[in-house]
Symmetry: C2
Subunit: 341 residues, 2 copies
């Protein structure tokens, strides 16, 4: 076991990679929420000038990628790899949206935990010396997700209180080696999650599917790093929403951890108290745009010193669900530290 | 740029990771082909004791994973991460098949190039010191693939000559650090591919979709490593089939490379001259089981000294196809060297 291996499932970087550029591109509804001012671009056309919902989502990725590279200031040539994925079957948004970027691509899927997975892989590539700069990103789109996972939009189905609203948006970060200019935060470590299945079968309650996986990733992180909630300014999950939040806090409480005071969920935050979104926002894009648009700014300013960022995913598939399967969860934690001492 | 970075898109490992265990589990048709004796397990039940095609494919993954770990001799505890994926929407086979493995999972998608992608990521994790042992794997299943991408089996559609037959099988390798026992071959380097889109729209001709991406990966590999066909015992693509093979050789010939004498395609090989399979085998499992069952044995014995293994993927989605999109390709090359001097 090398020095970089921390506990059972974690990595502590010896030379922590740095997020040196970030970008968030969102839709109108996200732009009208309480974090609207934080995002780099708000696109009013739900199809983003494209022909289909999938095309629209791909265009969000393309824009976020270009903008993150511009913000990083390293130049497109310096980007060696892209690690990207989305919720759609065969990663349609990434597969088509990133063609014109012409970069070697590692396609990844971790449902809504994808931003945690892509940052984890990209960080290891950079710290391992395999690349100077790697772009890590993901996206989601309300309409492409509803079309794939739930009902046709025209059907206007009723949404229960536990349901969440898939965020239309793409978030991207450029990860560079330690000492890179324009640093926003350092990636001190990662805790990669296992699939956790509590047998939940309610597609309208993704929070309940994901909360056990989030709890597992957070507790494993504490154990691996021999820490507890007290050393973090925030512990931030991806898209548990109001229902998932309660379950997560309950599970952690039963394990002896009280994180309520420092807890935040991107899904609960992104739309504020908009009644249409019920339990909150969700989708790969939710935690990705909140990271790029808000969380990294708090770290860059030094307002927050240490954040555990835990995107959460529900491994929902229409086929497996219709075959009677449960919806397992997975979550990947990223330990972010401010560069301001 | 560090010493590990080779050319524009490649990595040359300073301390090459080693494949220290491998396993292949296939279906009846694959077992009856010319390589039947090479595979570890031949499963006669197309549902592998499960209820659905997706379940069956997940069970193939679970078996291949367990067997590869046994063959590696490192013990399950030593496996730090799993890098796995498949063709199905939301990676159903990996998401459900690998739950009981209880290992941190990086889900990946590169269509039928997935084995190249998972080996690439796993190799960087091991060589970078982030893990002692990583399991890299993938699968496909004829029936789950037909159901998702083409027609219901009961419809008994006619298959054109250019079509391929999705392999039912899962291949897995355990990758360990240099010096690991039971070494079968070393991973000397990788060349990660870009998405290449020649605008092909024929879902019954995957070979034509993928051949340009394979050519791009192979030429990039030659350029990055400053080599040519003469230093390889074999250059082996994943599942181009008879049609894709001709296109690949033509493209390479036009670029000044003649690889015909050392060229092999797992898809052309796996079923021999079975007329039912038309242009050959395909699917993530095709190159994965041929690697685990045959290619690694040739390297382990020293029969082959150096092989460029290039799994090839067609980024086909039913949704994007029905929306009028083309089928872009991607290919990831892995440079394998024999440990026998």
């Amino acid at each position: 076991m090398t020095k970089k291996q921390q506990g059972k499932q974690s990595v502590r970087f010896e030379n922590p990679p740095v997020i040196c550029g970030a970008a968030s591109v969102v839709g109108q509804k996200e732009g009208e929420g309480p974090y609207g001012d934080c995002f780099d671009q708000i696109e009013l056309d739900p199809k983003v000038g494209g022909d289909t919902w999938e095309d629209a989502e791909g265009r969000l990725q393309e824009r976020a990628a270009q903008l993150a590279i511009t913000h990083a200031g390293c130049g497109k040539e310096a980007i060696r790899y892209v690690v990207a994925g989305d919720l759609l079957g065969q990663l349609m948004a990434s597969s088509f949206g990133l063609i014109d970027l012409e970069k070697p691509l590692f396609g990844v899927f971790g449902a809504c935990s994808t931003m945690g997975e892509s940052i984890g892989i990209a960080s290891m590539m950079v710290e391992g010396g395999f690349a100077d700069y790697v772009l890590a990103m993901t996206s989601s789109h309300f309409a492409s997700a509803e079309k794939q996972f739930r009902f046709p939009l025209g059907y206007a189905n009723q949404r229960p209180k536990a349901s969440t609203w898939t965020v239309t948006g793409s978030g991207a970060v450029v990860i560079g080696a330690e000492g890179a200019e324009h640093g926003k935060a350092r990636i001190a470590g990662i805790t990669t999650g296992k699939i956790v299945d509590y047998g939940v079968k309610d597609t309208m309650n993704m929070g309940a599917c994901m909360a056990p996986a989030a709890a597992d990733a957070i507790v494993t992180h504490f154990t691996d790093f021999k820490t507890g909630p007290e050393v973090y300014d925030r512990i931030i999950t991806g898209d548990l929403g109001m229902v998932g939040k309660d379950i997560l806090l309950d599970i952690l409480s039963a394990k002896g951890y009280d994180i309520a005071d420092i807890y935040m969920d991107c899904g609960i935050e992104i739309y504020g108290k908009d009644p249409q979104t019920n339990a909150g926002g969700s989708g790969c894009g939710c935690s990705a745009v909140m990271l790029a648009g808000y969380i990294l700014k708090q770290l860059e300013s030094g307002e927050w010193k240490r954040v555990l960022f835990v995107p959460t995913g529900a491994l929902l598939s229409v086929v497996s669900f219709n075959e009677g399967n449960s919806i397992p969860g997975i979550a990947h934690a990223v330990l972010l530290e401010s560069l301001v001492s």
